[in-house]
Amino acid sequence: MKISKSPWVLHYDGSSCNGCDIEVLATMTPLYDVERFGIINTGNPKHADILLLTGGINAQTAPVVRQLYNQMPDPKVVIACGICSCDGGIFKECYNILGGSDKVVPVDVYVPGCAVRPEALIDGVVKALAILEEKRVKVKESMKQGYCTVDYSKIAVRMKAEDYDPATQYDAVLTEEALREQAEAKIAQTAKPAPKPAAPAAAANPAPAATATAAPKKDEGGNA
């Protein structure tokens, strides 16, 4: 059985003109009826598998998109639907538009069009399902390597007041790689003091993680 038989979609309007949003909703109507693929348009990021973004991203919606992405459990895919969401479209030169969705979160499938046709959108979602299946295999592998699939990093009660910085809390994008780095750093921290020769290696380990991605490091500090 494949998990791609029941993809639940979360739809978010970045700063779209609503043209694409109407088309997204059109796919739910009896004419296109995406529920026949088991697709449900859920409003909850914690239940969603596919993040469907419409419209270019502006300064106000960027933190929201990041937060939605971070709240979705793995495996997850992101679809940019409409040309605005792909690279900014006709709003690209606007002073407040950062660009396409890929400026903020990693996008897996680009569906162009202005507005995007429902047929193209369904096609894009079906493409995304194959990627979802690939990511599922990846998650399975990391499970085998000993990473816990239960993500306790979002436990609210362990956050302290000083951990909470409204200015930066949504800056990090918790991609699988970033989460893996965090997990490795945590394992390195909690590991028993290694014998002397291994000590420089353990010390060197967090340093590349810190330099490679500045954003996850902040979050890591918050949760520690």
Binding site: P30, G38, I40, N44, H47, P73, Y152, K154, A156
Partner: protein, 289 residues
Amino acid sequence: MTAIIIKVVLYILLAPIIGGLMEGIDRVVSARMQRRQGPPLLQPFYDVYKLLAKQTTVVNSIQVLFVIAYTIFTIFTGALFFAGGDMLLVFFALSMSEVMMVLAAYSTNGPYSALGANRELLQMMCYEPMILLVAIGFYEANGSFMVNDLVQAANPAICKIPGMLIGFLFILTIKFRKSPFDMSTSHHAHQEMVKGLTSDISGTNLAFYEIAEWYDEVLMMGIVAMFFIYKNPISIVWALIACVIFYLMETLIDNVFPRVKYMAMLVSSWVVILVTAGTNLLILSVIGK
């Protein structure tokens, strides 16, 4: 004793299959009512399989305990019922399982979850009196609280307590989270407060919740069947037919009615309970003497 164990094991194994199929039929039939093709019949099973394969995000670690307790209590309730136990005990255990779910939602501290939990408590306020009255009604009709004795009654309970059945069908809409009364959480995707009760429950925990809902549906249909079953074995067929009709009726109601405000639910359910079940009980106690 072995008979009881066999019944319980059969219930634990078969109920999720029947419950999942019931939900699949419900989704297909609703789709056809809206002139859509609809999902495959096995869609609920695909959903649960996917949820089990997903990563689980936990907001508060006690949430896991409550969700699992909800599942276990629901299974326990159903097992008690299908093993032929005490009706009163069944209903008290049922309340316990509901309370576990409410606690799970409250423990997350999420605004939508808390709102869903509040509404779930309101829903419990609406259907708990009826559920208790059903147990009393069975006692008045056939003189026992034990399911084993009730299914061996001389006459079907529906002859003496038809009002109870009407009241129970009314609250069944609340229990199945169907449309006029799907306030706390809905089996539909969209709602004004995201997903209400289950907003902060994801992955494996949500799968447990879904499975518990299947058990719960089977239990509820079992109680409906109790109204028709008596010592004549052919009555089981009638009970099954009645269950199918009433379940499809719930699907129709779900598709026809819009969601109501909590006050409308509270007033209408209590009025219906008082008029149908209350009057029924009154008449029964007067005639019985």
